[in-house]
Structure formats: structure tokens, C-alpha cells
Amino acid sequence: MVRKIKKLYGLQMDISVQRTGVEAFFIGILERSEWLSYYARSRGWGFIMTWAHRIAGLVLALYMLFHIYTLSALYEPAAFASKMKFVDNFIFSFFEWALAVPVIFHALNGARLILYEVFRIRNDAIMIRWVFVLSAIYIMTLALVMLMGNQEVSPGFFWLIVAIASVISATIVYKRLRHTQNGTLWKLQRVSGALLLPLVSGHMFFMHLNYRVGHDVDTILARISAPGIKALDVAFVSLVFFHAGFGLYTIIGDYVEDSRIRKGLTVLISFVLGVFAYAGAKIVLSI
């Protein structure tokens, strides 16, 4: 099995693999980076994917704090509308689109890890390719939708489909994990990831269907006043902050040996993320 993996990675000694045109082109570009090339040869692409997953997660955790801060302006719709006018330009639209890169990469790569860890999908080199291909499809489709900016869909219908997909994926993961001896939080991290994959990718897509959905204060207020959307958004906020919190806790554990410092940092992160999660839920429930 391992020989097959190394062959697919194409980086092990004595093995040279002919890649197809498109892939060879992109790998060629990536390997021009001295850093990437160094780690691809010395640790494999799985190692690079892990680091990319971690960096994307950190970016998203920081973005979530900013996102809740921005949404807090919804308490004063006029102030929110003026903020939205400020961000109504190409640069901000580009950043909104670029945010999809860490979002979809983190989501799909997380799915790859779950498939490897608990569903015994071991042809990981192929899975890594799928992460890149599906990420590219999502990002390009989102760009197209944002450029057109004229798509309409019923929020109730859209979110019902997304919620059903989330529940199904989370149930499948939960069923595989519930009888294992892994820690409860460790299992919850995987289950929350399975819930978030459709939710987050759906959220980003929905918010850019047309300009009003994500930027017009009246449209936003009308949408989040619906009880079903409120419930979904509260669940969404809670899941995101739990997932981010456990991810950060994991990273701390990987680097900090002193148990007192580790506990202190864990308390600090729990407090900060807890406050922001509460603020996010309050915005959704009280507006």
C-alpha cells in the first residue's frame, strides 16, 4: 500500500511518474517554490496539506471575530448600510471572493482527513487531488456568480437543502465515531466539521448570489427575522466557534509543553471565542 502511495506522490526515490498535462503544469508551478519543493520532497504533500489546513483555520478563526464585529452594526441599520457602502468596491469584493479559498480548502481538506481517519479511505494522493479540483470548481463558480450578481433562490428552500445535507453528513460521521474511545471533544470536532462543510460552503455561496443578499440591510434583516433561519444561524455560529476553539486548543497542545501556560491559553481562547459566539448568537436572536 505504501509503495502505491509513494508512487502517486511521485516524489520517492527511484520512482518517476508521468503526470497528465494540467496536473504536471500546476505541480511544476508549485515546485518552483523552494519552500514547497523542500517539504514535498522531505515530508510529502500530506505534510504541506496539514500546514495549509492549519493556516487556513487560523485565518478563518480571525475572520470570524471580524465578521461578528461587522455584523454587530446590524443593531443600527443605518450605520450598517453606511459600512456596506464603504465596502462596495472591487477591492473588497475581491477579498470577499478570496475568502472562499481558505473556507473551501479547509472544509474539503477536513473532509479528506475524516475520510482517511474513520472511513479507511487510504488512496490519499487521489483525495488530495480531489481537494484541489473541487476547491477550484467552487472558487471559480463563486467568481462567476459574483460577477453575474443576479441569481435568485428561495432562502427557505436553499437552507432546507443545506441543512439536510449537513445533518446527513454529520450523522454518517457520528455513527462511525460514537463507539470509538476517542475523546468526546475530538469526536465533536469531526462531527461539527461534517455539519459545517455544507453549511459554510452554502453560506458563502448564498451570500453572493446577488448583491442585496449580503449587503442590503433590509434584505438581511428580513431574512434573519425568519425563525428557521434564526435557529440555523445560531447553530452555525455555535458550531463555528466550537470548531475554531478546539482547533486552536489543539494547536496550543502541539507547541506548548508547560501545562500551566497551556491551561492559561486555553482559558483565554475559550473566553474570547465564547464572548464572540455569544455576541453572534445575540445579534441573530435579538434583531
Partner: protein, 236 residues
């Protein structure tokens, strides 16, 4: 086919008396079938007798000559010059000690410290199952043996532990493997104790499934597969 290569080895040096670290360049000509341990010996003989490095069996079985060559942890007794040139596409190589334990001198690390992690998992049968009633030997079916025999090839060279994403608060891939292989071994009856070690804070929760362990393993053991079996909770 006695192709000669002009090699440059950039070797990490460390003098424990002065606590000075530096990188020293050695240029040497070597034919394609020499191994890296042969290069170190050549340096000792022809250029610098003070260069310290470690090896024992030089047949890839003792795990003492593990080093990082151009960042990749591997056994230097198994690495031919020709393969190294092909793999790294260069004739210039950095040579560093493994990072799993403190350096004693130059390329020699404190293996006693490295082995502390392995000792934590009790790398022996804690509580042997009773012998087979019809004979002295304990019988293992070929199907059961097949499921874990690959993992028994581990020589504890610590290449996987050096390559691993998680460097702190973790038993490390080879110690995890030492535990898992005995969990899968039907001769071991202390399964609960082994499970406690496996799922402890230093066990499976610290593995990030980066699979660098499988990628670098000189014995070609798919270590990540065995650790994933533990996460899946199904060793069958």
C-alpha cells in the same frame, strides 16, 4: 558504470565542550554506489577525523544512522549517492542530526532520550496470553498476522518522529506503532492498559494525519494507516 559525482556535504557540527554549532562544507568525489555512511567514513579517513556520526549494523536494521539529508529524515546506510542525486536533483546535500533528541556531538543524538517515548508505551507483551494447550507455541492465524506484520518491521530509527508535524506532547509515530502492534497481537491480553495509553493526551489526539511518518519510513511501513485504525477504533 563507475560514474563519479562531485559532492558537497554541508554537515551540521556541534562541539559540546564549547557548545558551538556551525555548518562545515566537505567536497568529495564519490562513485554512485557509495552510501552516505561511506561518505562520512571517507571524510573521517581523508579530510577530518573529528567528524562524529553514528551507525552500527549498516544494513538498515538497527536504526542508529538516521539523519536528515536535505531535510528528509532517512537511514544513511540505505541511501546511495546515485539515489540521493536523483531524489534531490542536486549534488549538494545538507546533513543534519535528527531533531527527536538533544545532539551529543555533530551528527550523534542522545538515543537514550529518544527511547524514553518508546519506553512509555511498554514495547513488550505486558500480559501474555496462556500458551496453546496442544503445544508450547502460541498460534496466530495467517489472516491475523497479515493485518499487523508490516508494523513489526519498525526498527525505531526515529525518522518518522522527526518528520512528524507534532513535535511536543506526543508519543510520536514509532512509539504509537509499538503500542498498536501489541494491541493487534493476540498474544497480548493487557488490551485495556494499551487502549488507555493509545487514547491518552499524548496519543491519538496529537496525530494530525499528515502522513509524513509513512512518507519517510525507511522500512516502508504505512504508520499513518495503523494510527488511523486506532482513531477508527477498528483494528480488524
Amino acid at each position: 558504470m563507475s560514474q563519479e559525482y562531485d559532492l558537497t556535504l554541508k554537515i551540521s557540527r556541534y562541539d559540546p565542550d564549547t557548545r558551538r554549532s556551525w555548518v562545515q562544507d566537505y567536497r568529495l568525489e564519490a562513485c554512485r554506489i557509495l552510501r552516505f555512511v561511506d561518505l562520512f567514513r571517507k571524510i573521517n579517513d581523508e579530510q577530518d577525523a573529528t567528524l562524529a556520526w553514528n551507525s552500527s549494523c549498516e544494513h538498515g536494521q538497527c536504526g542508529t544512522c538516521g539523519m536528515k539529508i536535505n531535510g528528509k529524515p532517512l537511514l544513511t546506510c540505505e541511501l546511495l549517492v546515485e539515489n540521493a542525486v536523483k531524489l534531490f536533483k542536486t549534488q549538494s546535500f545538507t546533513v543534519e542530526p535528527l531533531t527527536i533528541a538533544p545532539v551529543i556531538r555533530d551528527l550523534v543524538i542522545d538515543m537514550e532520550r529518544a527511547y524514553e517515548r518508546v519506553h512509555l508505551v511498554k514495547p513488550y507483551i505486558i500480559q501474555p496470553a496462556p500458551q496453546h494447550p496442544e503445544g508450547d507455541e502460541y498460534r496466530i492465524s495467517p489472516q491475523v498476522l497479515e493485518s499487523y506484520v508490516e508494523a513489526t518491521r519498525c526498527v525505531n530509527c526515529f525518522c518518522c518522529a522527526t518528520a512528524c508535524v507534532t513535535q511536543k506532547n506526543y508519543l510520536g509515530p514509532n512509539a504509537m506503532l509499538a503500542n498498536i502492534v501489541r494491541l493487534m497481537d493476540p498474544r497480548e491480553t493487557a488490551k485495556e492498559e494499551r487502549m488507555d495509553i493509545l487514547y491518552s493526551g499524548q496519543g491519538t489526539p496529537r496525530c494530525r494525519t499528515a502522513q509524513a511518518c509513512s512518507f519517510v519510513c525507511p522500512k516502508e511501513i504505512d504508520i499513518a494507516h495503523f494510527i488511523a485504525l486506532a482513531k477508527e477504533g477498528n483494528f480488524g
